[in-house]
Symmetry: D2
Subunit: 375 residues, 4 copies
C-alpha cells in the first residue's frame, strides 16, 4: 500500500463545513454519535478521505454505514480503539464528493460503554459548505425505528447489534424521499407506558427530554448524554411517533418484578381477551402525557402517531387518547396514521419488519407527509 | 353463423345448481341484480352457454362483466330489452366450466328504471353444483366501493356509469384473495350522516336494512327492493364499512337546500380550518348509530371500519365514535383500519382511486382480514 | 331506455375524419377489419356514439375491444348480424372524446365466413381530425402475436377465439409506449417454413404480400382480402418479425400428410436430439427468403427478428440465416433480438404467454426500438 | 470492549471443514482470493467468529462483503496488513451459523500488489461440514461480470475499486436462485479479441487457462496465479460467457499503440457505420477460438454466450461465429442468449449496469439455466 503523503488532518474543532445528524452535545470534542442515524456529512474535494474516530463498548459493538453521493457504499462493525477509517481512495481529486457517515446501532441502554466519537478527518482535498435539507423530521420509536430485523436472515432469532440499522430503515427512506434531515430517538423493546416485558422503566417519554436519555453510565454522562436537550436548536417540521407495539405486547407477557425494589408491574387482559380497562387507561394516559410533553417542547411541529407495522391491537386505544388530548387542548396539529402490518413476505430477522416492510411503510408515510408539508 | 341446435333453455325457476351474489329478493322471477357485484355463478358442461336477461334504464345504462374459470373475459354495456347474451361458444363439451356473470354498475338511486333481471340460461350442456366459498364478506361504502374511477382515463371527469365497476374493485380483490363470497351495498356520493354535498338524505344507514334501499320507484318496489333484508339468510364473517369520505367532503361544500321543503343542511368548519364541534358530533353520532344498527342485524360479524383511500381527515372523528360505541356497548368485535391514500400514481378517472389504488388497499385489507379470520 | 333523438347516422363513405388501423382494402364499403388490431379511431364530440357494423362467422366468433381516451373500456363477443353497438352514452357533449374500436380476433384462416365490417357511426356530436402517431410499426407473427393465451385461465386448454386478443398484446404495449400506429399480420400455429404440425402451407410468407392472405373464401375475396397489398401506402419505421416458434415445434411433431394430395412433410431431429441439417437448412432458407421479400417490399424499414417468448431453440438457426442474408445482400438494416421466455409465473391460458409475459417482452422490445428509432 | 478469552485460532492448514469459492491454488498457505466472488464458507457454532487475513495493494484497495446465513451483513474496504476481522459477535453459542466471506474486487491486472490471503479463523465454537451446492457455474466476462457500477451513484464516473462487486452481481443472483457454486473470471475493459481501447493484449482467452492469468507480478506468481488451472478439479455444469461488449467498443475507439513495441491495433468501421468485414472476421475468429478452448478444457459443460447488457451491436457477429464453430465441430452444447440492455432506469455508476439491470439479467439467465439444467 502506497501511503498518501498529501493527507492533512482536520480536527472537528477547527472545521467550518460539516453537518451533524442526530441529537448530540455539540459542545463536546470529540463529538459523540449517540443514536442510530446519528452521523456527519461533509462535502470534500481530493482523492482520499479518512475519518478519525474513538470507539468502545462492552458487549454490543456499534456498526456504521457510509453513503457516497447519497449511494450506499459500506456497512461494517467497528472495533474498539482510536483509529482512522478510510471512506474513499483514488477518486478524481477535483470533483466535490458528498460523504455521509452514520451510526447504524441504536443508543444502547444496556451497554454504558458503547460509543462512537468523531475527532475529525484526514484528506488531501478541502471541505466545502454542506447544503441544508428542505425539511426536518424527528422519529421516535422502538425496535421498529431502531431498524431491528432489517439485517439478518428470516430464521435468525438472536437479539443482536448487527441486525439493527438505519440504512434500511423507513425513517431514512422517508427522509430521502422528502429531502429531509432526521433525528431518531428509539429503543428496542420500549413503549410509551412500559416495555414489552411490563418493565415500566422502559418508557421513551422518561428519556425524551435529555440529549440522549437512553445512554447511561459515567462515560455517557461526561459526553453530555444526560444534559437537557435544547429543543429550540432544531425544530422539526414533523414528529413521527411510532410507539405502542411494546405496550401491546406487555398485555400478553408475565408480570415484571423490579429486581432491586421487588416492585411489580403488569398490564392485564380480561378472561375474554379484551384489555383490562384500568390498565388500558394508564396506557392512554401515557399517550396523552407524551403528546403533552411533545407539544410543550415542539410548539409548531406536526405530530403524527404512526402504528401498525407489528400489529394493530392498540389502534382504538391510541386514537382514544389522541382524541382526549385534542379535546382537552384544542391542539389540531396531531394526526394518526396506520402503517401497513408486516407479513410473511416482508418480515426480516428476529420476527421484525424487514427491508420490504420498511419500504412499504415508508411509501405510505412519505405520501402522508408530502401531502401535509406541501399543503 | 351456424346456430347450435342443441341448446336447451333453463329457467332459473327450475334450476337447482347456481349461486346468487349480492342481496336480492330470491323469491322473484326473473331475478333482479340490484347492486354492483350482484351476479350469478354456474358450473356447466357443454360447448356453449347463453344467459337470458331483461334490461332497462332511463339514463344510466348498466354494464356487466364475466369471468370464465375465474379469469376476466368480457365487460360490456347492456342495451334495453329482453334478450340472450352468449357467454361462451365452441368449448370442449365435456369439461366443467365455471362461469360468473356480474353487474358492474352500482344500484342507481338516480335512475328508477335501471335494472338487470336474470331469466335463466341456454346451453347444450348440463349444470352441476356450485361449491361454497370459505368466507362471507359484506362491503358497505360510497363511490370507492362502487369502483368509480376504476375505468376511464385519468383526465376523464364525467360522472358516468361506465367508469364504475366491481371488476377492478378492492372488494373483489379481497374476496378473491380470501376465497370469500361478497355482497356490496354502496352508493357514490353518499356518507354516514350526509352526502358529499350536505344532502342529509344521502346516508347509507337509512337504506341499509332493506334489500336494496338504493333502488327506488315502482319497478324496483315490485322487484322486492324495498322489502326488509333478511339478515339471518346470509351471515357475513366480516363487514367492511368504507364510509366517511363524503362526510368529510360536506364540510367543504356549500349548504344544501331541500328543493321540496326548503330545509337546509350544512356541516361547518371553523375559521381556523378545524371542524365545528357540534357538526362533528352529529357525524360521530351517525357513526355510533350505524355501528349499533350493524351489530343489531349482524350479531356475530367482525366489523372493520376502513378509511383513507381518498383522505385521512376524519380518522380521529371516526375512531372517537368507535371508542364511544365500544365503551357504551362493550362490543369488542369492531376495529378500525387505514387503507393507503390514493396518489397521482394510483389515481383513476374522475379523481377517484384507480385500479392500482384498489390493489394497494386490497392488499392491506386482505392481510388484515386474513390475520383476523385465521386467528 | 330513453332513446336519444338527436343521433345522426354517418356513413364511413361520407366521413372525412377517422383513422383506420390494420391492413385493409380502403376502397371497400362497408370497411372490413381483417386482422387482430384492425380497427378505427375517431375524435368526436357529443353525448353519445354508436358504431354500425356487419358481423358474421361460422365457427369462430369475433371479439372486439374499445378504448376511450386511450383507456380500456369494453371487451365483448360479437353476434352475427347488421347492427349498432353503443360505444358511450351520457357524456359531457362538448368535450372531444377519442374512441378506438379494435378487432381482438386474428384473421381466421379456418373460418371463411368470419368478418367484421364497419358501416359508420351514429352520434349527436360531430367528428374532428385524428392526429397522426409518431411511428409506424408492423408486427408479423404466430399465436404469440395473435395474443393467444392473453385471456383465459392458466388451466384452460381449448383453442378458442375468446382467448386471443390484441388488448393485452405486446404489439399494442410497444406501440403505446412509442406512440406508434401498428399493423399486425399473424396466425396461430403458423411458421416461416411450416406450421407447428409440419403443414407446409401454413407459412406466413406465402400470404404476406396480399392485403389479408389469411382470410379465404368468396366473401373475403369480395372484400378485397386477396388483392395485392400496396406497401407504398403505409411504410413502417420498423417491422417486427416474431416467427420460428412453430417451425421449432414441427421438429417434434409427426409427419403431416396433405389430405388432398397425399403429399407429406416433416422436419426431423437426429437421434441425438439435434436438428437434421437438411431440414434445418430449408428452415434457414425460408428465413432468408422471407427477409428478402420483406426488404423488397419495405426498402427503408428496420427489420428486427424477435424470438424466445416460447423457447430459444432456433436462435442459432435464425441468426445463421440472418447472417447469410446479410452477407449476400449487404443489408445492415436487420437485427435479431431475444424476448424473454415465458415462465410458470407469466404464462396465460393454453400454455401461451399471458399478459405478464407480453408485458415483459414489450419492455425489452420497446427499449430496443426506442434506442433504434431515436438514434 | 471485553475481549473474549475463549477464542481459539484455527489455521486453514489444519481445518477440515470449509468451502473455497473461486479459482485458486489450494496448495498455498495462506490461501489467496484472486477474483471477485472468491471467498470462503464455513459452518460454525460459538458466539464469535474472526477471520485472519493478509492484505496489500498499491493503488486499488480490495473490498469484501460477508453473508451470515445467506443474508448480506457487511461490505467494507480492506486496509493493508496482517490482521483479524470480526465476522460476528455475541450470538447464541449453540446454533450453527453459516458464514461466507467474499472478495468484491476483481483480480486487478493493473495492481500487482493487490491481494487478500486467508490464514484462518478465530472462534469460541467449532466448525462443521459445509454442504455442497446443487450446481457449479463459471462466469467469464468483463466489467459487467466484475460488477462495475453496482455500487456508486448514477452520476459517479470514476473507475474505482469500490464501485465493483459481486454482492449485487447477476452472477451471484443466478447462483443463489439455482443453488449453485460459482467461479468468476472477469476483467473490466477486456474483450474476446481486444480491450475497449483496441489493446489486443486485453483479451480474456489469453489468461483463461491459468489459475488467475489476470494477476501479474512476482507476488502473485509466488501465490500460484500463473500456474495452469486444473480444469478437472471443478467441472462446471454451465459456463456463462458474457463477452463482446468491449470488442464492440473498440470499433468506435482510436487506434491503440503498444508503448513498448510501437505496434498498433484497431478495429474499424466503414464510412456507412457498418463493421469492416476483415476486422469483424478476426473478432469472429476470436470467438471461435475461445469456444474451442472452452470446450477443450470443459468437455461436458453447457456453454451459453450471453450478451446485451450494454448494447446488442455484435449479436449477429457472435452468433455467426457460434454457428461456424458449431458447424465445424458438431458441438451442439452451446447456446446464445440475449440479456436485456441497461436503461436509464436500471443504470448504475460509471454508465454501467446497476443493481436493477443485474437483477433483470439474472432473472432471464436463471430461467434459461433452470430450463436447461432441469431438463
Amino acid at each position: 500500500m502506497k501511503p498518501n503523503s498529501n493527507l492533512k488532518t482536520y480536527s472537528l474543532k477547527d472545521m467550518e463545513y460539516y453537518k451533524i445528524y442526530g441529537r448530540t452535545d455539540e459542545t463536546q470534542y470529540p463529538l459523540p454519535l449517540f443514536f442510530n442515524g446519528s452521523g456527519i456529512e461533509v462535502n470534500v474535494t481530493g482523492s482520499e478521505l479518512w475519518i478519525d474516530i474513538d470507539v468502545d463498548y462492552d458487549m454490543h459493538e456499534p456498526w456504521i454505514f457510509t453513503r457516497l453521493n447519497n449511494s450506499f457504499m459500506s456497512r461494517q462493525m467497528l472495533m474498539s480503539g482510536s483509529y482512522s477509517l478510510c471512506l474513499f481512495r483514488s477518486m478524481s481529486p477535483d470533483t466535490v464528493k458528498n460523504m455521509k457517515f452514520f451510526r447504524e446501532l441504536q443508543a444502547m441502554s444496556e451497554d454504558d460503554s458503547c460509543h462512537i466519537l468523531i475527532r475529525g478527518f484526514r484528506t488531501d482535498g478541502f471541505f466545502l459548505p454542506v447544503s441544508n435539507k428542505k425539511y426536518k423530521l424527528e422519529f421516535i420509536g422502538d425496535s421498529i425505528t431502531s431498524g431491528e430485523g432489517t439485517y439478518g436472515a428470516k430464521e435468525d432469532t438472536d437479539w443482536l447489534a448487527m441486525y439493527m440499522g438505519v440504512s434500511r430503515n423507513y425513517a431514512l427512506m422517508v427522509s430521502d424521499a422528502l429531502d429531509a434531515e432526521f433525528r431518531l430517538v428509539s429503543q428496542g423493546g420500549w413503549g410509551v407506558l412500559c416495555g414489552w416485558d411490563n418493565d415500566p422503566r422502559h418508557n421513551i417519554p422518561s428519556r425524551y427530554e435529555k440529549i440522549c436519555g437512553l445512554a447511561g453510565g459515567k462515560m455517557n454522562e461526561s459526553l453530555g448524554a444526560s444534559k437537557p436537550y435544547r429543543f429550540e436548536s432544531w425544530k422539526p417540521d414533523a414528529i413521527i411517533v411510532n410507539l405502542g407495539t411494546n405496550d401491546a405486547s406487555a398485555f400478553n407477557q408475565p408480570e415484571w418484578t423490579n429486581p432491586e425494589t421487588g416492585e411489580t408491574f403488569k398490564q392485564h387482559k380480561n378472561p375474554d381477551g379484551s384489555f383490562d380497562p384500568d390498565d388500558l387507561n394508564r396506557f392512554k394516559q401515557a399517550v396523552i402525557d407524551f403528546l403533552t410533553m411533545l407539544r410543550r417542547n415542539n410548539p409548531d411541529s406536526h405530530i403524527v402517531w404512526v402504528y401498525g407495522m407489528l400489529g394493530y391491537d392498540l389502534t382504538l386505544a391510541i386514537t382514544d387518547a389522541m382524541n382526549s388530548y385534542k379535546n382537552a387542548t384544542k391542539d389540531n396539529n396531531v394526526a394518526f396514521l396506520h402503517l401497513p402490518n408486516t407479513t410473511d413476505e416482508t418480515v426480516g430477522s428476529h420476527a421484525h419488519p424487514g427491508e420490504k416492510s420498511h419500504a412499504r411503510a415508508a411509501k405510505v408515510l412519505t405520501e402522508y407527509l408530502k401531502a401535509y408539508l406541501e399543503a
